[in-house]
Amino acid sequence: MDLELVQRVQAGDKKAFDVLIMKYQQRIVHVITGFVHDPVEALDVAQEAFIKAYRAIPNFRGDSAFYTWLYRIAINTSKNHLTSRARRPPAVDVDAMDATNFYDAAELKEFETPESSLMTDELQKTIHQAIEGLPEDTATAIKLRELEGMSYEEIAQAMECPIGTVRSRIFRARDAIDKQIQEIMGEGE
């Protein structure tokens, strides 16, 4: 899915890398927060992960999806961060040989506050309601894209319409959903 963007980054286009950051930073920060908890620290670790990804991207061969590759880097960066944090003079003595494996089990649990979990539930409910309120073709297009993971070309074949129509329908669906979400999140233009 991100093949062309990655190729542009490999050719030296940093703007293309900005887009990859914009696409995946929310998910990556969330993954990292599961390790480091502190939101400010999570942003620092996320920054480090993206920097590592940029430097390593010449070696990215496309065997896996870009996000899968980025996710691994984020996990490794988080682990290394915890390890180096553990090596600073600790409150409790830690055997140096065990330092690399010093993981407080609590730190590794999925970290989601009740508030963010509720927010996720509410947003998902809003999105699904918004989709059900769409015209049938528009709803079908967004469902095939987001829930079935089909490409525009595959959707065009399935719905027997041009690819441009698929793109337009999916955009209209997203636009309608976006307006509903903005009401909840309280964001305005």
């Binding site: 899968t68 682990k79 999925e110």
Partner: protein, 326 residues
């Protein structure tokens, strides 16, 4: 059958319960995966790809009151069929081809001891839920096994969401590059498997044996006191799981093989007495997902091989000490 299923599930829950660092849902999925692979009927084609190698295999698996029957057919390359009925394994080669004395064509026996090996491995990998995806048109959930250090590779396991069958397994290096992939390209699950599907079609030379005769322990074994070799450094969690002197090299020399594993990753070390001058690996080499390191010590060629990073085979190789009489 249901009682057996529940018993196995209970045992596996006990085995896995002490891991508190892994995501519970990830471990539960793996636990179901291990059980389902034994209990489910399925028929599919999967491909193995590493570097530029591509191997396709059809697998048909049936489980019922009599136990398990499994048939594997190589679809390209060397023709071969393997039929396993519980612990009896039959390997069939084409007529005219010498029968290979490979008594473990199914390796360590997936999925029979997968859960037991997983319990060894879980202290050295962090298991977590990854993404949702699709493999062979089936919706899947990814389980990520991230190694605790850079001496072993990680795994990405894609498990069918409805049936919990493992549909794809990727071996990953520290940068997330895929070194090796096993992936179903098509699979049907839960159907009746007729008897005819499990009969071999290849005409050729057959060899049968009970795989327990060549039993491999997945738990730590005590090093044979007669071994003159000692490996003084191992990655955390690696234990000796097999040691044997079965092989004869072409020049008649016997070869000792020691196998070390943490449950998921494995390394073999071969010790071959030098009987004649011939070329041997010095230093490192790599093919696909495998790394090798060679050295010479006390008139022996020593080769360390495994699906682990190069630094691991080199460090293990350099830590070998000779304990025998000079």
């Amino acid at each position: 059958m249901k009682k057996v299923f529940q018993f196995v599930l209970a045992c596996s829950a006990l085995v896995l319960s002490f891991n508190t660092a892994a995501e519970p849902q990830a471990m539960q999925t793996l636990e179901r995966m291990g059980v389902v692979a034994k209990q489910l009927n399925y028929d599919g084609i999967f491909s193995y790809q590493a570097g530029n190698k591509l191997q396709s295999i059809r697998i048909i698996h049936r489980a019922d009151e009599q136990g398990e029957v499994e048939r594997l057919i190589s679809l390209n390359g060397v023709a071969r069929e393997v039929i396993r009925t519980n612990d009896m394994v039959t390997c069939i080669y084409p007529e005219g081809k010498p029968v290979q004395e490979n008594h473990r064509p199914l390796g360590r026996g997936f999925p029979t001891d997968f859960l037991r090996r997983l319990s060894s491995a879980e202290a050295y990998y962090q298991f977590s839920l990854g993404q949702k995806g699709r493999v062979a048109s089936h919706h899947t959930q990814e389980i990520v096994a991230t190694p605790i250090d850079n001496y072993r590779y990680g795994y990405s396991l894609w498990v069918d969401k409805d049936n919990d069958l493992l549909l794809q397994s990727d071996l990953l290096d520290s940068m997330g590059n895929v070194l090796e992939t096993f992936s179903f390209s098509s699979v049907e699950m839960g159907q009746d498997i007729p008897e005819q599907s499990l009969k071999p079609e290849m005409q050729g030379n057959a060899m049968s044996w009970n795989r327990n005769e060549y039993g491999l322990s997945a738990v730590k074994v005590t090093q044979d006191q007669s071994s003159i070799w000692q490996v003084t450094w191992l990655p955390k969690g690696f234990n000796l799981v097999t040691q044997q002197n079965r092989f004869k090299a072409r020049n008649g020399a016997s070869i000792e093989q020691q196998v070390y594993s943490d449950g998921l990753s494995s390394v073999s070390i071969f010790f071959e007495k030098i009987r004649a001058r011939h070329s041997h690996l010095h230093g490192g080499s790599k093919m696909g997902a495998a790394n090798a390191f060679g050295t010479i010590m006390n008139a022996h060629f020593i080769t360390v091989v495994g699906e682990v990073p190069a630094r691991t085979v080199e460090k293990m190789g350099n830590s070998i000490r000779f304990n025998g009489a000079e």
